[in-house]
Every structure is written in C-alpha cells, then in structure tokens.
Symmetry: C2
Subunit: 217 residues, 2 copies
C-alpha cells in the first residue's frame, strides 16, 4: 500500500536533513515540490537523492486563495499513489507555517494515508547559529509570524518572529520596550546566511526567509 | 584546531537525527554524554556511530545546583580538546530546555570555540505524530515547561507543554477553559511512544519525557 509522506528537509544546509527524510526520498517514486519562492531551496537541499524520480511541481501562489489548488493536488496524489509512494518536500518543518498543512487537510478528506516527518525549523537552527537558548528551565517561548502581542512579550523570555520581512522597525521597537536583546538571521544555514544585531542594518533587509529572535537578559 | 560541538540527536527515533550530527559524531574523538534519566536514550540513538570513541559521561543531577559540575566539565573539555574534537550529545534540540546551555556558558568563559547543531525537538516531532499544525499563517505558538500563563493562552492558537509529568490535571483544566483540544504524547518516536487524548488516562501517566499539545479549533 502506497503512502503520502510530508517531509521536512530543514532550513537550508543539506546536512541539516534527517536520515528518515533522506531514506523516504530515496525510496519514493514521486516527489511533490511546492513551486514558490522557496522551491529551488527545498529541491536544492535534496538534489543528490532525486535521480530517477518523477518530480511534480505544485503551484500555490502566495497571498492567494489556493483552496482549489490544494484540492486538485490531493486528487493528483490519490491518482499517483496507485503506483508508488509520494514524498512532499517542505523547507524547514512541515507543521510550522507550511503550505503542507493545507494540502494535508485535503488529503484527509480523501482518506489518503499520510505520515508527517518533522524537519529542523528555521528558528531552531537560528538559535543554534547565534548560540542563544530558546529556553532554559521555567522559561516561556513565543513563536509568531507577525508583530508580536504585548501581553505575550511580557510573559515570555524568548520570542521568534518568522518570515520576518515586514514591520521590522515596529517589531524591534517593541522588543526594545519589553527588554529583549535581538538578532536578525537571514536564510539560516544556507550560503546566503546573514546575522545582524543593529537595528539600522536590520530594517534595510528585505527577505522573506528571515527571522528575528528576541531574548531577555 | 579542535572544536566543541553541542549536537542535538532528536527525540528518540534513530532516523530522526541529522546527517550533520551523524558526521560530527563519526569524526569526533570524544563523546560527552550527560548521565541522567535520558542518558541511555541519547546514547542509544547514536550507538551505531560510537565505535572507537572515548565516551565521557557527565553527571548533572536533576534539581540540584550543578554550577561546579558544569565548570569542571568545561575544564575537562579544555583538556581533551588538545587532542581532538568533542561532541556533546543531547536529546532533542540543544537550545530547547537542555542542560547543554549551562555547559555552553562555562565553555564561553574559557574562550573555547563551540558550535551548536540543532536537533528535532520533541514538540516538533509530536506535532507531526498527531498530524496537527504547530501554526498556520498569522497564528501564535506558545512553548513552556510548566503550567501555562492564562494571558498567553488567550493569544495563542497552539501551546506545547514540555517535560510534562506534573500538574497535568491543572493544565488540562486550563486548556479546556481556553478552548483547546489536547493531545498527550509520551516518548515521541521512540519504542515506548504513547498518544492519549482522554483526561482520565493522561493524568495517570507519570513520565518526564512527555508533552501536552493544545490546539484551538
């Protein structure tokens, strides 16, 4: 019986992929790859394992209602699963702000058997990169993808703002107000990785694959 | 020049380790392994790569002031680095509620060059296991290791309570009050993995390697 795997391939460094992801990709007949700004990155991470596979690129344009596209992708998966396993590759972790989640919901409606395989999230890799803890004992972590909530900043020692290319000035002002040190990490672990800690430099950057990590004390 | 690597080995499944972790362990001369309840798990994950290495077990008893032990471990690392690389293995991710963070601070005091390598966190693996998102667009994630803060529960769509063997009844009451569905995941991805969704069953469990994930709607 063939299966649909949603597989995280990590943040960018081809070594930051799990053995499980590599093995599933090697054994799959079909690779589903979301066609987007990040597409070349995800495919690039796994390029050594793609030989002989049918690669199916799926288009889910950002900021559009893709409901029908997800439904059609699920139907295509149903058809392809008759002849072999599918691995859907996703940058970072499939359960963390990923388009995979919308596709998963459609697959479930069709009663397709799915297994999700976690990947290294960008924020986890970024914390390691700057050698700062996400949390030690009794601390709270807050993860978001837009301007953080003040009530939450008050109660958390670490905040990670993902996909951070908008409102950076407002975000940094908030972090300063609530006593956070901050780090901007662009394309963590990849060839174009950049770490910044100065506000005036950070606000000049404009890349969707960026994170700000705030850390109290 | 030798280097000290703090390396996450993932949550339990030996396939949920990164290629980078495997390669660093294979090339290291020394493996530092915290001796604790989780010790056998971390060493078990990497057991295939340990041949010919000197394994140094470090004791950091839970709930005790280990400041001197961390300092001594850092001094031992300084000595051993004269003859080869050290990999400190840590279950899950080294920057997420790990003892590695305390050791890292001592290594930094001695100006020892360190590199931290992220691992799959238990909460990431648990979300994949239950096929529930940690977040979709515009949602907030809250991660903690004790009874969650009410103000934060109000503003977040997902909450992950790690190392959850205490106050489970109080935690579940709170999650119900704030409109969360909940899942209890013990030893995710390991041989003793268990997923529960009924309060009366969850409160009977008593294992430190457990997570509760709450998810609104």
């Amino acid at each position: 019986m063939s299966k649909f795997y949603g597989v995280g391939v990590g943040p960018g460094d081809p070594e930051l992929i799990t053995l499980k992801a590599v093995n599933l990709i090697k054994n799959a007949k079909y690779i589903f790859s979301p066609k987007s700004r990040d597409n070349s990155m995800a495919q690039n991470i796994v390029k050594d394992y793609l030989k002989g596979k049918e690669i199916i690129e799926l288009e889910f344009p950002m900021g559009k209602d893709n409901a029908e596209r997800y439904m059609n992708a699920a139907k295509l998966a149903e058809e392809k699963l008759k002849s072999g396993d599918i691995v859907f590759i996703t940058l970072g972790d499939p359960m963390t702000y990923s388009t995979y989640i919308y596709l998963l919901r459609e697959l479930e409606k069709l009663n397709i058997e799915t297994e999700t395989v976690p990947g290294i999230s960008s924020f986890t890799a970024a914390a390691s990169r700057i050698n700062q803890p996400l949390a030690i004992k009794n601390e709270n972590i807050y993860i978001c993808d837009s301007v953080p909530e003040k009530d939450v900043l008050e109660k958390c020692e670490t905040v990670c703002i993902l996909k951070c290319n908008k409102n950076k000035s407002e975000i940094i002002d908030l972090l300063e107000e609530y006593g956070f040190n901050y780090y901007f990490i662009k394309r963590v672990s990849g060839a174009e990785e950049l770490v910044l800690t100065e506000k005036d430099e950070i606000v000049k950057e404009d890349d969707y694959m960026s994170i700000i990590i705030g850390r109290k004390n």
